[in-house]
Amino acid sequence: MGKFSKTGKREMPALNTSSLPDLIFTLLFFFMIVTTMREVTLKVEFKVPQATELEKLEKKSLVTFIYVGKPTAEFRAKLGDESRIQLNDSYAEVAEIQDYIIGERASMKEEDQPQMTVSLKVDKDTKMGIVTDIKEALRKAYALKINYSAQLRQ
């Protein structure tokens, strides 16, 4: 049974790692492709409601976001608990939405403009009053395609 006896001289062969960079690069490319960078820093907290009949929001470049929710902790002392609207990087009032939408639309390609979608990311505990005001403003700005952001209910 000398076969199994350890002589101590034998060494573990080094693992060939020359293909490791290739593997990592493959993963890297995958993540580079699927990445969409978040463009705005959120100043409101929101948890979108749950629903079952959802549609996917396609073509990110055609979508404009409006966030509604309570101010985040650092702003709460100054602004209170009342739900606020966020457009781009700052808080806004309902009256500013119309100009914002028109501005966003002007920055799109002309053939894309009719397909413009506004995604409403609204906290589930918001009162409908503020949402209705936003809807009215969107109607006036002729941004009629909207999408109530929601999570899939399991």
């Binding site: 790692t17 020359s18 490791l20 960079p21 990592i24 690069f25 993963l27 890297l28 993540f31 580079m32 699927v34 990445t35 969409t36 960078m37 978040r38 979108v48 409601p49 629903a51 079952t52 009949e53 959802l54 549609e55 996917k56 929001l57 990110k60 979508v63 979608t117 995604s119 409403l120 609204v122 906290d123 589930k124 505990d125 918001t126 009162k127 409908m128 009053g129 949402v131 209705t132 809807k135 009215e136 969107l138 109607r139 006036k140 002729y142 941004a143 009629l144 395609k145 909207i146 999408n147 109530y148 952001s149 929601a150 999570q151 899939l152």
Partner: protein, 196 residues
């Protein structure tokens, strides 16, 4: 002086993996994989005077009034119901299978693939809420109304082609949309709750 057979030394590539790892980790962190989903809706264009005259002509039997009050209680067609009942109620209203007098009237229209079909094309579901209604309840109602349409469309698609509505091709979907057109009107809310 130089000898012709001198080799170029290999570049040490053992750190490529580390560099790639760094980049990988950066992209891993910045990635937001969540695909945005939501309930797609179309708002009516801004109101003008002509439109107002039209909306008055809609007959009472063609309208299903859904109302949410400030305490998230649901009223549908004049009676209090729970959210679970809404979907069936909406389906019955849209489809009107027994040609009920109080449900929307049916008209015969020509639809590709189906021929002449009796369709409740004039029906409207009018959704109204209070300024104090919570967004959560509003979305739940919207969801069930859209769900009612999806159920009816799926049922018809199953009967005709044995597939779900979403798996049909463009023309077939269009035909089904003609039979069950989605008509949800989101009226401006009234301030019932907040005034005291």
């Amino acid at each position: 002086m130089a000898k012709g057979n001198r080799k170029v030394p290999d570049i040490n590539s053992s750190s490529t993996a580390d560099i790639a790892f760094l980049l990988l980790i950066f992209f891993l962190i910045t990635t937001s994989m969540d695909t945005d989903r939501g309930l797609a809706r179309r708002l009516p264009p801004p109101p003008d005077k002509e439109q107002k005259d039209q909306s008055d002509k809609v007959k009472q039997r063609n309208v299903l009034e859904v109302f949410l009050n400030k305490d998230d209680q649901l009223m549908c067609g004049g009676e209090y119901i729970t959210i679970g009942q809404l979907r069936d109620k909406a389906k019955e209203f849209i489809d009107n299978p027994n040609n009920d007098e109080t449900k929307p009237e049916k008209h015969s229209i020509q639809v590709p693939f189906f021929g002449n079909v009796m369709v409740t094309e004039k029906h409207v579901i009018s959704l109204r809420c209070d300024r104090g209604t919570s967004y959560k309840a509003y979305i739940a109602v919207q969801n069930d109304l859209v769900g009612a349409y999806n159920d009816l469309r799926d049922k018809l698609a199953q009967e005709k082609w044995g597939k779900n509505y979403l798996d049909l091709n463009e023309d077939q979907q269009k035909a089904i949309r003609e039979i069950y057109p989605q008509k949800i009107s989101e009226a401006e809310p009234k301030k019932y709750g907040e005034k005291k």
